[in-house]
Structure formats: C-alpha cells, structure tokens
C-alpha cells in the first residue's frame, strides 16, 4: 500500500458565512493523480486550499504529511506546490525575470523551469516578453512551469487545463503523468471530466461542498 499523503475527515469550511465544504472526506496516496470533478462553486478550490492551511476548517480533521496544515503551515507548504485560478506572476516582468526572482528566493531552479516551458511549447523569444503581453494560454503555461518546477512532493493544481489549446492540454497531461510516475502526488481540480479522466488514477465528484469517490470503471 502506498503512503497516505493527504487525509481529510468530516471537514466543514466556512468562507465568511458560506459553508464551502460540508462534512467533506478525502484521501490521496503517494504516486496518485487524484482528480476532483464538479461544477464551479462546488468546493474544489476550497478543498485544495484547505490542504495548504490557507483556509481553516470550522470542524473536522486534516492531515497532510502527518501534520495539521493549519497548525504547521510551513512544514506542509515547503513540501507542496499550488497553482490557483490566478497566475501568481508579476505582470510587468518577463517570464524569465519571474523565474529568476523565484530562483533568487530559492524556490526553484530557473533552468529546470525553462526546460519545462520548452516542453509546454513556450520558446525563448516568448520568455523574454513581459507576462502581460503574453496570450492567456502562454501565461497559463508560464504559471504552470513556475508551479511545477518547485521540487515538491504534493502538487495541487486548480483547473490547470483552463485556457490551454488541445495541444497544450495534451502536453500538460504528459507532464502530470511523469510527475506521478516520479513518486509525486498530484491532486487536480477540473470541471471537464472527459479531459482529466484519462490521467486520473482515482476520481472524486464534488457536489455542494461534499466530495464522493467515483467508482473506477
């Protein structure tokens, strides 16, 4: 049996007055690609953020790498990487400068990220342009590369396929599968079950803040 990386038990999360998760339970094991499906607003994003201690459960238990992310956020965050809806990039810098900044913060190796960008189809010329001048799809790829180049055991991706063209989606799928083969744990949220069904080792369907495992077929 593979090591259990994430364990969520009966968790309720309140965003303001809104229960974004209601008695949610969820698991992820080492080397898995777990896909969370469900419509917008069903609580997928909140579930990912819960694992990083960015939202705190009102009740229930969360364990990631054996610790509670709300109590020891840095232990969990050091070993994880996350890509949210919003690309966490500085718009006025070029892709290369963004990478260089994160390298200076000792978060990633710029060379590795550049390699990843190459693989996703962003060439050297585009990397030298300010991020705000890039197309949505190219920006998304830069954001993906910065997130995935961080050496992390747990990879959390929120709608990573959004804004990518079919070719880009296929390239990303390859990258994700490679990550999982390398022993990383990938949890990704998607409202496009057809797409992610191909790479998923296990799937959850999230409805109204409550994830349910989809039996393998």
């Amino acid at each position: 049996m593979a090591r259990r990386v994430v364990q969520v038990r009966n968790v309720t999360v309140l965003l303001g007055r809104f229960p974004a998760l209601a008695r949610a339970s969820f698991d992820a094991f080492e080397g898995e690609v777990v896909v969370l499906e469900g419509p917008n607003g069903s609580g997928k994003t909140t579930l990912l953020r819960l694992l990083l201690g960015l939202v705190v459960p009102a009740e229930g238990e969360v364990v990631v790498f054996g610790v509670d992310p709300a109590r020891m956020p840095s232990a969990v965050r050091r070993a994880s990487t996350y890509l949210g809806h919003q690309a966490m990039l500085y718009d006025e810098l070029t892709a290369d400068e963004n990478l260089a900044f994160f390298e200076r913060l000792r978060v990633l190796h710029a060379a590795q990220a550049a390699q990843l960008l190459e693989r996703l189809g962003v060439d050297r010329r585009e990397r030298g342009r300010q991020v705000r001048h890039l197309s949505q799809g190219q920006r998304r790829k830069v954001a993906l590369a910065t997130a995935l180049a961080k050496p992390a055991e747990l990879v959390l991706l929120d709608e990573p396929h959004a804004a990518l063209d079919p070719e880009g989606k296929a390239l990303l799928d390859d990258v994700i599968v490679d990550l999982a083969r390398g022993g990383r744990t990938v949890v990704l949220a998607s409202h496009d079950p057809g797409r992610s069904g191909r790479i998923a080792t296990r799937r959850y369907r999230v409805v109204a803040g409550h994830p349910r495992e989809v039996p393998a077929c």
């Binding site: 309140l14 007055r17 229960p19 209601a22 008695r23 109204a208 803040g209």
Partner: protein, 245 residues
C-alpha cells in the same frame, strides 16, 4: 444563575454612574465656590481631567486586549470584541476631552485651539483611533479583522510616546510654555473642590465601565446571532447534499 447576577451588577454600575454624574454636575455647578483666579471657569475642572483620564484608560485597555488577542495562547474572540468596545467608547471620551479642553482654552488663552503639547498629542491619539474604527468597518473575515485591528492598535500604542516626546520638544524647545497651563496644575484644590473632583473621576470611570460592558455585550450577542445563521446555512447545504445522493 451567574449571568443574571452579572446583569444585575451591570445595572447597578449603570445606576451608580448615572447618580455619580448627576452628583458631579450638582457639586461642580452649585456646591463648589468659584476659585480666586479662575472664577467660575474652575467648574470645568470637574469634567475635563476626568474625561482625559478615561480616554487614556480606554486606550490602555484596548491595547492590552489587542495584545492578548494577538498572542496565540490567549487568542479569544472576546478580547477582540473588548478591544473594539473600549476603543469606541474611548473615542467618545477623547472627543469630549478635546471639546472641553477647547472650551477651557478660549476664555483662558483667548483661542479655541492652542498647540499645547498635551492637547496636540490627544488630538493625534483621537485621529489614530478614528483610523482603528475605520479599519474595523472594512468587510473581512472575523479572524482577519481581529488580527489586523490588533496589530494596528499596537502600532498606534507604540506611536503615542513618540508623539508625546516630539510635541513636547516642539512646544518647549524654543519658547517657554507660558500657555500650557492645563486646568489641573494652576488651581489649588482643597475641601469640597477635592470631593467634587474625586466624585467626577469615579463617576466617569464607572460610566466608561458601564458603556464598554454594554457595547461588548451587544457585540457578543451580534456575533452569536451570526453564528446561528451560519449553523442554519450549514444545515441547508448538508440537506442539499443528502437530497442530491
């Protein structure tokens, strides 16, 4: 029951404060004699310094409660609510300190406002805590608001001695402070005047205690209501999950 006893105590404090304030007015306006030098103006002595004392007391309590909230081991929503209640009442008393000080200044110094060190520092303090109340109005989650306003209260608290020192030097380095005779240090206080002064300090402090208590209680009940609404919302969401399966 404990809570009814507490409520009775609160009501007693409120009544005592009301009687005390009335007594202060009666002692200050009727019983005490006019002073030799200041004449009838000395009667302002029975309101202004006690206002100032309560204002500083209120901000002391806000700072203390904020620090207790920030420290993780003593973090309770109650500290945040207490800090807020105390600051709000404190702003009222600071405003009254400034107004009564100004009313004192006009006949004594011929101007409504003098840049006297103490007065200036009090004015800046007033502005700092208006900022505190404005920050609390910004919509955000309960915990975030608690942390942010507590941090702000501490930053403001650190600022107070610096402001005091700088305005003190500002007003005293060049010209001797011929004007900065506050109402307190120019009059010899004795006999019935001392009684009136003491009554005023005690009764305005009691007024403050009562007001903070009431305000705190209101905030606490407000919070309880919000949590009740939250529980309903969770129940509804769970029902919809059950219905969907």
């Amino acid at each position: 029951m404990r809570s009814t006893q507490l409520r009775r105590l609160r009501r007693a404090i409120g009544a005592a404060a009301l009687v005390g304030v009335a007594a202060t007015a009666w002692l200050g306006l009727v019983v005490t004699p006019p002073a030799e030098f200041f004449g009838n103006l000395v009667r302002l002595l029975y309101v202004h310094p006690s206002m100032a004392w309560v204002a500083f007391l209120a901000f002391g309590v806000t700072t203390l409660a904020s620090a207790l909230y920030l420290w993780r081991r003593t973090r309770r929503p109650a500290w945040d609510l207490l800090a807020a209640a105390s600051a709000e009442v404190g702003v009222v008393f600071t405003g009254l300190t400034l107004v009564t000080g100004s009313i004192w200044g006009r006949p004594t110094w011929g101007v409504w406002w003098t840049w006297d060190a103490l007065l200036t520092a009090t004015a800046v303090l007033f502005l700092l805590y208006l900022g505190y109340l404005a920050l609390r109005r910004v919509p955000m989650s309960e915990e975030r608001r608690g942390v942010r306003s507590a941090v702000w209260a501490l930053i403001a608290f650190v600022d107070v001695p610096i402001i005091n020192q700088s305005v003190y030097w500002w007003r005293t380095l060049h010209q001797r402070p011929s004007l900065s005779i506050g109402p307190t240090n120019a009059v010899e206080v004795h006999g019935i005047m001392a009684v009136a002064l003491a009554v005023s300090f005690v009764s305005f402090t009691l007024t403050w205690v009562w007001m903070v208590w009431v305000r705190f209680d209101l905030a606490r009940r407000q919070r309880a209501l919000e949590q009740l609404e939250l529980a309903h919302a969770i129940a509804e969401r769970l029902e919809s999950v059950e219905a969907g399966s």
